[in-house]
């Protein structure tokens, strides 16, 4: 059977292109993302401004490119922290069981019971808007998913013969967990993290749109949509393009996620 897993490579291509753009932003455009030019506001796309300018005369393409920096990096960090936290706690919880497991799972249930945005918005309000509080808010809510995934996988893995054998052969618990349990349960969490990045970028953009995200004037897709929505009838591209970018990122990451599932199930 021919199984080339094209979607996986397409996803990788999309995301690496975006990552490339984000990393090399200063070399790709000579405009300043927050530099205003009130002489040419709301200009239509042209040779000088490929995607036109916004109401303050800032180059939209430049802001999109710099926005990728902010949104992608916060998106990744906001998944990395919950990933590490949730995986560690899930590993211990599944392995040890007992009171630790019971208490942790009740905390997980409680966290899941809250609507995500209500909790995130409340946290951002308390800590104050900005990248740090977004990451904090998403981490505090996001770890529960990893914790559950890993815990469930550990419950299965710890009854496997090779884990029994490792236990029986007198290896230290830390090594059994690190070498024999973790590598065999982590894949599910990695697959989930791909779709989780999409969700966290959506959250960042949504918070930005609500004015709770990265403070303006920093270029960020969510706040660009929010600032641009007033011009949607005349200069529709100003709010639309950042939205399209979110869709593209989500598409690419989903393809990677699906591709990983295929690869790991082979």
């Amino acid at each position: 059977m021919k199984n080339k897993n094209y979607s996986f490579y397409l996803g990788i291509a999309i995301i690496s292109t975006l990552a490339f753009i984000a990393i090399f932003a200063p070399w790709l455009t000579h405009y300043d993302p927050i530099g205003q030019n009130l002489m040419s506001t709301l200009a239509a796309p042209s040779r000088h401004h490929w995607l036109g300018t916004d109401n303050l005369g800032r180059d939209v393409l430049t802001r999109i490119i710099y926005g990728a920096r902010i949104d992608l990096s916060i998106g990744i960090l906001a998944v990395l922290f919950p990933f590490i936290l949730g995986t560690t706690l899930g590993l211990i919880s599944g392995w040890r069981g007992g009171w630790f497991d019971v208490i942790l799972m009740r905390i997980v249930d409680t966290t899941i019971a809250f609507p995500f945005y209500v909790l995130a918005i409340a946290l951002v309000f308390v800590v104050g808007a900005g990248p740090k509080s977004i990451i904090l808010a998403i981490s505090l809510v996001g770890w529960v998913a990893y914790c559950r995934i890993i815990r469930a996988a550990v419950l299965v893995a710890k009854e496997l013969d090779y884990v029994h054998a490792a236990k029986l052969s007198g290896l230290p618990t830390s090594r059994i967990l690190r070498r024999h349990v973790l590598p065999n349960v982590i894949s599910q969490a990695i697959v989930f993290s791909m779709s989780d990045i999409v969700l966290s970028i959506l959250a960042i953009v949504s918070l930005g749109y609500l004015g709770l995200g990265v403070p303006i004037p920093t270029a960020e897709w969510g706040s660009m949509i929010q600032e641009g929505q007033a011009y949607i009838l005349q200069q529709w591209w100003i709010p639309t393009i950042p939205g399209v970018m979110v869709v593209i990122v989500g598409f690419g990451l989903s393809l990677i996620g699906d591709g990983l599932v295929k690869r790991l199930n082979k």
Partner: protein, 331 residues
């Protein structure tokens, strides 16, 4: 006689199930001497695997040893702390599981897995552990061991995988190997090779073997002593020649009769009618009574103890009678 290497005394194990308390092991005793090979046979659910797990401390959460004692070289396991017990078991006993796929970690190379115990637990250097891994792989008959160090389990055939599992079990220099149906998942030729390997090891390294299986032919091949298990107890124990020739317990007799025999063509294989008792329910008398061909009223009221008869031990009220009849029939 000197202290046996492993000694199990009157062990009871209960399992909490959703149908009630299951008395999985109802008082078994077992001695294994240094270098001895012992077989435990019985049908599914008779308690063979639970016995091994109980000794190794690998019982599932819902199972519990309710009474009895286990000694290794005279040291009671239950007098030790959890840590010391694990340490002692780790040093003295290796285990080979039924499913060689599940017994190997899919993400580590076989070399890493075989060298792991020497390197991590015994504190050997990386090079020395690696050499030991090659030595073990050669010992268990894996060709081109040096090359195969860097191979992952899924790249090996079933037989080679089981050999790797045996090499891992041997890597801690155990004095006794527990084999939990290690040949059941293999085809017959590979099965024979693995059995020969285990026999060789016993001769070369004087490693004791406790072999759990439902395959009588396998026990005949590699064990000196056979223990027949039924409904959580041993019903017959004896040396392999005598027991296979003249079983003293009706269950053992029926079990042997229901195995295919190459020398005698039969139309249909003998099968034991009925099924094993439900151990969650209380019962009186001999657990085999409802299926036994030699059953009497005594059997239905009193459970027989494991008592010596001839060269064996048998838990049957009528062993003597039944043997006499058998020899009469022969004469």
């Amino acid at each position: 006689m000197s202290t046996p290497f492993l000694s199990v005394r009157n062990l009871h194990v209960d399992i909490e199930t959703n149908r009630g308390l299951l008395k999985a092991i109802r008082g078994i005793s077992l001695d294994v001497n240094e270098g001895q090979s012992i077989g435990i046979v019985g049908e599914s659910g008779s308690g063979k695997s639970i016995t091994l797990k109980a000794i190794l401390g690998l019982l599932p959460k819902n199972a519990r040893i309710t009474s009895g004692d286990i000694f290794i070289e005279g040291q009671s396991l239950f007098e030790l702390s959890e840590k010391a017990r694990r340490q002692l078991l780790a040093e003295k006993i290796g285990i080979v599981f039924q499913d060689a796929i599940a017994a190997l970690n899919p993400v580590l190379t076989v070399g890493t897995q075989i060298a792991e115990i020497p390197h991590r637990r015994m504190g050997w250097s990386k090079e020395k552990s690696r050499d030991r891994a090659v030595e073990l792989m050669t010992l268990v008959g894996i060709p081109e061991a040096e090359k195969r160090l860097k191979v992952y389990p899924h790249q090996l055939s079933g037989g080679l995988r089981q050999r790797v599992a045996i090499a891992i079990a041997l890597s801690g220099n155990p004095r006794l190997i527990f084999c939990d149906e290690p040949t059941t998942a293999l085809d017959v030729t590979i099965q024979a090779q693995v059995l020969r390997l285990l026999l060789d090891l016993r001769y070369k390294e004087n490693t004791g073997i406790v072999f759990v299986t439902h395959d009588l032919a396998v026990v005949n091949e590699i064990c000196q002593e056979v223990n027949v298990m039924y409904a959580g107890r041993f019903v017959e124990r004896g040396n392999v020649q005598d027991t296979f020739q003249d079983p003293t317990h009706p269950y053992a007799y029926s079990l042997l009769k229901s195995a295919p025999d190459m020398d005698h063509q039969v139309e249909r294989l003998f099968s034991i009618s009925g099924e094993a008792p439900d151990l969650t329910k209380a019962f009186v008398g001999c657990p085999f009574a409802p299926r036994c061909f030699a059953v009497s009223d005594l059997c239905r009221s009193t459970e027989p103890d494991l008592l010596p008869i001839r060269t064996s031990l048998s838990a049957c009220h009528h062993s003597q009678n039944y043997l006499d009849k058998l020899s009469e029939a022969k004469a």
